[in-house]
């Protein structure tokens, strides 16, 4: 809201949190970690995009999607299609019966590049598709569901079914999608090898930069009147409607935004790991993405980012040292977050750490530069989910 002076905002308490995250991601981690570990953090970061989207969609607007993997996957597949075409030059695929098409197509007797692959020769088209394909699907789902006022549990289950459908389709249509193996063996991005350490480190910084861009967009939306209406909607949907708002349009917009964030995450994921496969589309990864968000704090954008980083780091750490224990830990994490601290890490931070900060600030006799309308209250209270089953 009062962002007339960006510098002033950066020095506010909220701005400092963003600075701290930037410092951590852009300076501390690259210095502290070897390229191998940094690449892993880069992979986790791509999930943070999904988490930001879920914070907006689930935390702020009360729409729980169990199908974010679909959008993550679509973004990732768009990028993978571009990279695969780049890797499938007629020279590199000369031994195939049809040179110049991706190898898996050749194995499946596809003799011609399908029409929907054609535009992915263009990088600018691919960049647009990364945003628009997930956005468009979200729009279609959103229009169909929100106009009919499907919400809450029903929405969650239907998105889950969609994730299931898409997985079966991708696996079944292997001539066009690479099937269960996915689209693999991606090597270069416009001639630039994405496999070297330098490339991975560069991609890491790109991911950090794009993440902050998305964070700022999300924050801007959240702090505009739009954000207040989302909050109002979660609270009293009918009152918003009878205040003259087209509630469905607002839900569709935020759902599309979340889908696009997920799509960006997916595209960056493909670049980071060098392939894309249906195992990131289905039900299980989609639910895990919700956990990142729940653990970080479903009402807090930064919480979502930390949640994605921590859960994934814990997953790697645990499964390296005690593979047997990881599912127990993950399960307990779910239950614990929901039962004991529904606002996640962000909620704990606000309750236990922020008062300390306050005391410190007062100690230094610097008046806390609290903005006039702080979001603290919104995020702190255990808001009831007004997401009960609504039937029209």
């Amino acid at each position: 809201m009062k962002t007339s002076s960006p510098l002033k905002w950066l020095l506010s308490r909220e701005g400092l949190y963003y600075l701290a995250l930037a410092l951590l991601l852009a300076v501390i981690l690259p210095l502290a970690l070897d390229p191998f570990r940094l690449n892993m953090v880069g992979k986790y970061l791509t999930y943070a995009f999904v988490a930001i989207g879920l914070v907006m969609c689930w935390g702020k607007a009360g729409i729980l999607s169990l199908g974010q993997g679909v959008f993550f996957g679509l973004g990732g597949y768009c990028m993978a299609m571009f990279l695969k075409l780049e890797a499938s030059t007629p020279e590199a695929t000369a031994h195939q019966s049809t040179p110049g098409i991706p190898d898996f197509m050749d194995w499946n007797q596809v003799t011609e590049l399908p029409w929907f692959w054609q535009p992915f020769h263009s990088f600018s088209f691919t960049l647009m598709a990364v945003l628009l394909v997930p956005g468009l699907l979200a729009f279609i789902i959103g229009v169909a569901m929100f106009k009919r006022r499907v919400s809450g549990v029903y929405f969650a289950i239907i998105t889950q079914a969609i994730a299931s459908i898409l997985t079966i389709l991708i696996i079944g249509q292997q001539g066009y999608t690479g099937g269960v193996n996915g689209i693999t063996d991606l090597q270069t991005l416009m001639g630039w090898s994405i496999r070297t350490d330098e490339a991975k480190t560069t991609l890491y910084f790109v991911a950090v930069a794009v993440l902050f861009l998305c964070l700022l967009v999300a924050r801007w939306v959240d702090h505009s009147k739009f954000g207040r209406i989302l909050l109002a909607m979660r609270d009293q949907e009918n009152r918003v409607r009878f205040s003259g708002y087209d509630v469905a349009a607002f839900k569709i917009f935020i759902f599309c935004l979340a889908a696009m964030f997920a799509g960006i995450g997916g595209a960056l994921f493909t670049l980071q790991v060098g392939f894309m496969s249906p195992s990131f589309v289905g039900i299980v990864p989609s639910i895990e993405m919700v956990v990142f968000c729940a653990l970080g704090g479903r009402y807090s954008l930064l919480g979502g980012v930390y949640g994605a980083l921590l859960v994934n780091a814990a997953k790697s750490g645990f499964s390296e040292s005690f593979p047997e224990l990881w599912p127990y830990a993950m399960g307990a994490l779910f239950i614990g977050v929901v039962l004991a601290f529904p606002n996640g890490l962000a909620g704990l931070y606000r309750r236990y750490v922020m008062p300390l900060e306050d005391r410190l600030l007062r100690g230094k006799k610097t008046p806390a530069a609290a903005p006039k309308e702080t979001t603290a209250r919104r995020d702190d209270e255990a808001l009831p989910d007004h997401l009960s089953v609504e039937k029209p």
Binding site: V221, F226, D235, R239, G244, F250, E373
Partner: protein
């Protein structure tokens, strides 16, 4: 009088839930600047009539014309933009937002997705909010979260949220229910102020209060109009007496 000369004309309005006709072939007309009170025993279909007008419930048959527009085909938010404001029986305000923000959300600007993203809190907004807050006795509580208000204050806030939309027709569902005597009196004052430049449709049980404010009264029973006229007229209508005093 041509029916489009009325502000609101309801004709043959019917809605049935699984065969049960909650509103049955109902017709009534509202003139501009009129204050109409709907009374009737529980289950008479009063709230359903408001639901039908504001689009919350879809009519099975009949028409609702408002300033020449057919409301039965419109979406809720379009009906609001056409100039109909509705207050619910239970106060429904946004408890997580401040009083200021509650009123601001209702301010008739930035109601589209893009509009709300581009919305700026300029001087005109602040002035409109403060002026309405004054009218509804909440000028000192603008920074409070609405969740902390008393029951009566929430009712006022909701009325304020309607006022700031500048609707041509205000519909209030039991605005004084659950209020203390003092609050009730203040609300009556508030309504009198409002009615200076709004048409108001009120559901109310408190006959004292009805007598205070009503131009005309419509009595509903079993989804139909039982009687209509001045408060004295309906009070003396034998059918009304029978319905209220019972068989």
């Amino acid at each position: 009088m041509n029916k489009d000369d009325f502000l609101l004309s309801v004709e043959g309005l019917t809605v049935s839930f699984d065969g049960f006709k909650a509103v049955d072939d109902l017709s009534f007309y509202l003139e501009p600047q009129e204050i109409r009170v709907i009374i009737g025993p529980n289950g008479a279909g009063k709230t359903t009539v408001l639901d039908l007008i504001c689009g919350k419930t879809r009519a099975t048959a009949g028409s609702i014309r408002f300033r020449g527009k057919e409301l039965t085909k419109m979406k809720e938010h379009q009906i609001v933009h056409a100039g109909v404001g509705r207050k619910f029986q239970n106060p429904s305000v946004f408890e997580d937002l401040t009083v200021f923000e509650n009123l601001e959300v209702s301010y008739p600007m930035g109601h589209t997705v893009m509009g709300s993203l581009a919305f700026k809190r300029d001087a005109a907004v602040i002035e409109a909010v403060e002026s309405v807050a004054h009218t509804i006795f909440l000028q000192d509580l603008l920074a409070e979260p609405a969740g902390l208000l008393s029951h009566g204050q929430k009712q006022w806030l909701e009325i304020g949220m309607l006022l700031i939309q500048k609707p041509a027709l205000l519909m209030l569902d039991e605005p004084v229910a659950g209020m203390s005597v003092a609050e009730r009196k203040k609300t009556a004052d508030l309504l009198r102020v409002i009615t200076r430049d709004h048409t108001v449709l009120v559901i109310e049980h408190d006959m004292q209060f009805v007598g205070d404010i009503a131009d005309r009264v419509t009595v509903m029973h079993q989804g139909k109009v039982l009687s209509e006229g001045s408060i004295d007229h309906v009070k003396n209508d034998p059918r009304v007496i029978e319905v209220y005093l019972g068989h």
